[in-house]
């Protein structure tokens, strides 16, 4: 008894000085770690974001200043000449419009087709369902160079080479989208759907008025990812758009960058800004949604 009491009594009052020193030690070690970590991460942040800031600033420099040695960081003699040329002398408004049309239609198509097929795969019974899902899964990993050649042959047979339709059609229904939507819709309780059926709602109405509203987070993720992928897509537009009036922004910029004739450096940077800026704005506005959506996609 006494011994137990003793130990109990002993515990709350350990020798006080060493403890305090240990605590101080830990605290100051934490403090150092905190500072080091912030310095390293801040350095990393400069490396990650710096090129974009430099790009944006340099697009307002006259061409001679971009070539200057040593280079300047802030424009010494700011001008919008490069944007002027992009807008008025080059066809950038056309490329921009092409990019927007292709990305918007591709995104809308995927939202509609993938959510409908995702609903069918998740909640409806029909022959061939398993086979369809397996084929979809099987193509998720297919590299785009694999389908490039047959797609080109197919497009030329359909007569859609060098048209915006030809840039959109191959990406209108993508495996990843169906997979994402199916995984999300599976988690919607069946009771909700059954209750609606008992109330006499048609499947179309269930899809439109129950499933789609509940899918908003998944649709947002799919919409953002599809739009981005389409906006930045390069290989297929490079192959399928053969005349300038059908170029998308990345194709136009890349071909201008490697062009034989004298390349104007200021135009390259301004062109990069035009490609990056819309995506940047969308990203910053939706970033919370974005990161969360991508993370949950990854974990499923």
């Amino acid at each position: 008894m006494t011994s137990t009491l003793d130990t109990v009594a002993e515990k709350p009052t350990p020798p006080s000085r060493p403890t305090r020193r240990l605590g101080d030690d830990l605290r100051s070690r934490d403090h150092v770690a905190r500072i080091v970590l912030h310095v390293v991460l801040l350095g990393g942040l400069v490396v990650m974001v710096g090129p974009f800031i430099w790009m944006a600033l340099s697009s307002f420099k006259p061409e001679a200043e971009i070539r200057a040695d040593p280079p300047t960081f802030f424009p010494q003699d700011a001008t919008t000449a490069s944007y002027d040329v992009l807008l008025n002398r080059l066809d950038f408004p056309t490329y921009f419009t092409n990019s927007v049309v292709v990305a918007v239609l591709t995104t809308l198509g995927n939202l509609l087709f993938c959510s409908a097929a995702g609903y069918a795969l998740a909640k409806l019974d029909f022959p061939g369902k398993k086979a369809l899902f397996l084929v979809v899964l099987g193509t998720i990993m297919v590299p785009s160079v694999v389908t490039m050649v047959p797609l080109f042959v197919l497009s030329s047979n359909l007569g859609v080479v060098n048209s915006l339709a030809g840039l959109i059609l191959p990406f209108l229904a993508q495996a990843f989208g169906v997979f994402l939507m199916r995984q999300f819709i599976v988690s919607i309780p069946n009771d909700l759907i059954e209750a609606a059926r008992i109330d006499g709602a048609s499947e179309l109405r269930i899809y439109w008025q129950i499933i789609l509203p509940l899918c908003r987070p998944a649709l947002a993720t799919l919409g953002i990812l599809t739009f981005l992928a389409s906006w930045n897509n390069f290989l297929w537009p490079l192959v399928a758009a053969t005349t300038e009036d059908k170029y998308t922004l990345p194709v136009a910029l890349a071909l201008y960058a490697i062009g034989q004739n004298q390349t104007r450096y200021d135009l390259l940077l301004a062109g990069s800004v035009v490609i990056v800026l819309p995506v940047l704005i969308v990203f910053l506005v939706l970033q919370r949604h974005f990161v969360r959506g991508i993370a949950t996609t990854g974990l499923k």
Binding site: M48, R67, P71, F113, V145, P170, A173, L280
Partner: protein
């Protein structure tokens, strides 16, 4: 009988409804994705070329000739080697950087986590073409930002993109820079999914930080690592935009990638040959994914 009929129409009705929803997707998907995957395999067994688009009867079946020809194509061998180096060095580098940033941000010591997260993720959402253009300027030998900065420390930087020994490593680092944000976001989500109690238990058991990382965090992150590894590998095997915009595959083919070589062969009109090369790329993706599964599946239990 009545019941049987109503059941029959019920099944038929359900089948029709199901396919009604799935059909638009299925048709587009079969025509523009699944069909071409099969067609590409068939084309790779023929001598299909651009001239045959007008005269489909001129196509001959050549069996595995296209695949055998690959081994006699010095450019293919160079491209395969470059791609292998790119993947073998680039994927682990990207993953380690992503994991380090995620661990740092997840340590509870960092303020403004959201700011860091957005900043590190930024390059992921931007066009590779635009990024390549910007980096081409930064890497300029004389007036580029990088060599100027190195000059402050008395280091004379090389002509990064036009020197045979530095071109590919430069592209690898640039790709790690662009893609680490993706891994970071996924790793952060994975880290937050590890129950806090496990760390408390480990601390009580006297496990130090390093031991916790080695025996708790890393094993618990395995599924997340697998996902990041597979996605990053699939992307890296296909690398194309960076050499296309920055080096045109040079100098001396030192940055020619498999995808780039395939694109060139397609451009020359060698459709059958390009298809064969595309399929090799596909097989490599599948094999590497299997390898990652083997390496990272939970062999704890």
């Amino acid at each position: 009988m009545n019941r049987a009929r109503s059941q029959g129409s019920g099944t038929l009705g359900r089948a029709l409804t199901g396919w009604g929803f799935a059909l638009p997707f299925t048709v587009l998907f079969l025509v523009f994705t699944a069909g071409p995957v099969v067609a590409s395999l068939l084309m790779s067994l023929t001598d299909l070329g651009s001239a045959d688009l007008l005269d489909p009867l001129g196509v001959n079946v050549v069996g595995l000739d296209n695949y055998l020809r690959l081994f006699d194509d010095p450019k293919f061998l160079i491209a395969a080697t470059n791609t292998a180096i790119f993947v073998v060095v680039g994927v682990p580098l990207t993953m380690v950087l992503a994991l380090l940033v995620a661990l740092g941000l997840n340590s509870g010591l960092v303020k403004f986590r959201a700011l860091f997260r957005v900043g590190y993720y930024l390059p992921v959402v931007t066009s590779i073409v635009a990024i390549s253009v910007v980096w081409r300027f930064i890497l300029q030998p004389d007036s580029g930002l990088l060599n100027t900065a190195l000059g402050w420390f008395g280091i004379e930087g090389p002509n990064w993109l036009q020197t045979k020994s530095t071109a590919l490593p430069t592209l690898i680092v640039m790709c790690a820079w662009r893609n680490l944000g993706f891994g970071m976001v996924i790793f952060l989500a994975g880290l937050q999914a590890i129950p806090k109690e496990l760390y408390e238990a480990a601390t009580i058991d006297g496990a130090r930080k390093w031991a916790q990382l080695r025996f708790l965090t890393v094993p618990m992150l395995r599924p997340t690592m697998l996902f990041v590894a597979v996605i990053t590998t699939i992307g890296y095997v296909q690398f194309f935009e960076e050499p296309f915009v920055m080096t045109r595959g040079g100098p001396l083919d030192s940055t020619l990638s498999l995808a780039y070589h395939t694109y060139n062969q397609f451009g020359f009109g060698n459709y059958g040959y390009a298809s064969a090369m595309g399929y090799v790329l596909f097989i490599v993706v599948v094999l590497l994914s299997i390898a990652w599964f083997r390496l990272l599946r939970n062999n704890v239990d």
